[in-house]
């Protein structure tokens, strides 16, 4: 099974507020908040650490979550954020996370 690599888009604004990560997309102004576990995945999304390793070392290592549940939740989270262009996903390491151009609405 190929590895999944994730990287934070540069077209977002982000800040921690009371243990939650606030994120706003500059592409479509969608606003998100991430819980503690999602924040750990987000912060580890450097483009070259495989998602499986992030889940194993950061999520299962820091929170008491079953590996299978953690993997499933992480994949769902990655899928949701990538739909909004907030996380970039690839089966190869990601060098740079340049902002996408936007469609004029």
């Amino acid at each position: 099974m190929p590895e999944t690599y994730i990287a934070r888009s540069t077209a977002i604004a982000a800040r921690m507020l009371g243990g939650e990560m606030m994120i706003m997309s500059a592409l479509d102004s969608t606003f998100f908040t991430l819980n503690e576990v999602a924040t750990v995945i987000w912060q580890a999304a450097d483009g070259h650490t495989p998602l499986s390793e992030i889940v194993e070392s950061r999520v299962c290592g820091e929170f008491e979550i079953e590996p299978e549940v953690a993997r499933r939740d992480a994949e769902e989270f990655v899928s949701q954020l990538s739909e909004h262009g907030i996380l970039l996903v690839s089966d190869h390491p990601i060098q740079e996370s340049k902002p996408r151009s936007r469609e004029v609405r």
């Binding site: 540069t10 077209a11 977002i12 604004a13 982000a14 800040r15 921690m16 507020l17 009371g18 939650e20 606030m22 706003m24 500059a26 102004s29 606003f31 998100f32 908040t33 902002p99 151009s101 936007r102 469609e103 004029v104 609405r105």
Partner: protein, 364 residues
């Protein structure tokens, strides 16, 4: 409750300045007739100083960053400042007249991930807009700039100020925003100049025009809902605050002075001499602003509009007391609902006081 409102309440509870407005310069290439600023450079912060302030703001938890002026592009380092802000992951909004934005600047703003641009246009007619800005050709250049920004997919808002000199053009200006495919905001507020000069207040529109504004569905949506009588003032409302100034928001001038809001000229400290976090948390002035609840306002706490008024504590401060009424907002509440504010009734009462007259019809 929306997520943003929820985060704002959380920031309020944690004492986090969620939004900071920073004017990077007061210099400007326009000389708008209603502008409250002194455009001479009195010693702006350097590039390094502003970058240092931005680092501190990120550390303090600021999320929304508004760059404004003056005209921001009068600083040759402006895009460098935006780049630094975006590296720190702020949500960046830029207020500008746009006349110095061409294709290259628009492209760079998009590459940097600026979330929103706000450009000022006062009329759809060059002879009116250019007479207000006193810069020949400015309307044409601002419109061109909006087109460059839109072609890059940036979100743009047209910001208009309603005054005696452009009131007849309001509909046409709104239509121009629609034609350009951008959002539109209209503000009837004209404030005194920074040096206290109130002569520009003569540009304010009259009462009938203000009332017309509040009854225009194109501007306010559901007129019946917008103009309905104020809700009863309950205990929660009395425990509330007028606005976010000093609670989750503040303003920094080009000289490093920190104020609760751009419209609230109460000095609370200077980032050239103090850490931003120290000013935000410990300034006695900031703490005083933060301590004032609706129930602490001698006149406004007795007003039927207390729960729904747009009372600006900064305008109240400029009138004489940050705990007093803001007459401009009293007038807005009155013209919106037809119900006079406690402040208006008090003034009418004072005006009618005389030795021989016991009862007079109330005039407002």
């Amino acid at each position: 409750m929306s997520l943003l409102v929820e985060m704002n309440e959380k920031a309020m509870a944690l004492g986090v300045p969620l939004t900071v407005h920073i004017d990077v310069t007061y210099r400007c290439n326009e000389r708008c007739v209603h502008c409250y600023l002194d455009h001479d450079d009195q010693g702006e912060m350097t590039t390094a100083e502003i970058k240092g302030v931005l680092d501190q703001l990120a550390e303090a938890g600021v999320f929304f960053l508004v760059f404004s002026g003056g005209e921001v592009f009068m600083r040759r380092d402006f895009l460098e400042l935006v780049e630094h802000a975006r590296k720190l992951l702020f949500n960046v909004k830029v207020k500008t007249n746009g006349v110095m934005i061409h294709e290259a600047e628009a492209r760079r703003l998009r590459e940097l991930g600026v979330e929103q641009m706000q450009l000022s246009i006062y009329s759809y007619r060059p002879e009116v807009h250019d007479a207000i800005t006193k810069l020949p050709g400015s309307l044409k250049r601002t419109i061109e700039s909006i087109k460059f920004l839109r072609s890059q997919g940036l979100k743009v808002t047209l910001s208009n100020v309603l005054m005696t000199v452009n009131r007849d053009d309001e509909k046409g200006t709104h239509a121009l925003a629609r034609e350009l495919g951008i959002a539109y905001t209209l503000d009837p507020t004209v404030t005194p100049k920074m040096d206290g000069d109130t002569s520009i207040l003569s540009l304010r529109v009259n009462d009938d025009e203000l009332e017309g504004l509040f009854n225009d569905p194109e501007l306010v949506g559901d007129v019946e809902e917008y103009c309905k009588p104020p809700a009863p003032v309950d205990e929660d409302a009395m425990e509330g605050y007028s606005c976010s100034a000093g609670h989750t928001a503040c303003y920094i001038s080009p000289y490093g002075d920190v104020f609760p809001c751009v419209q609230f000229p109460l000095p609370t400290g200077n980032v050239r001499r103090q850490k931003f976090a120290d000013i935000w948390r410990n300034s006695p002035q900031m703490q005083e602003v933060r301590s004032i609840r609706i129930k602490d306002l001698p006149v406004c706490s007795t007003c039927s509009h207390a729960a729904s008024c747009s009372r600006c504590p900064g305008l109240a401060y400029m009138e004489g007391s940050m705990r007093g009424p803001s007459t401009t907002d009293c007038e807005k509440s009155f013209h919106r609902t037809g119900i006079p504010s406690a402040n208006m009734m008090r003034k009418a009462g004072l005006a009618s006081r005389g030795p021989l007259v016991q009862i007079l019809p109330m005039t407002v």
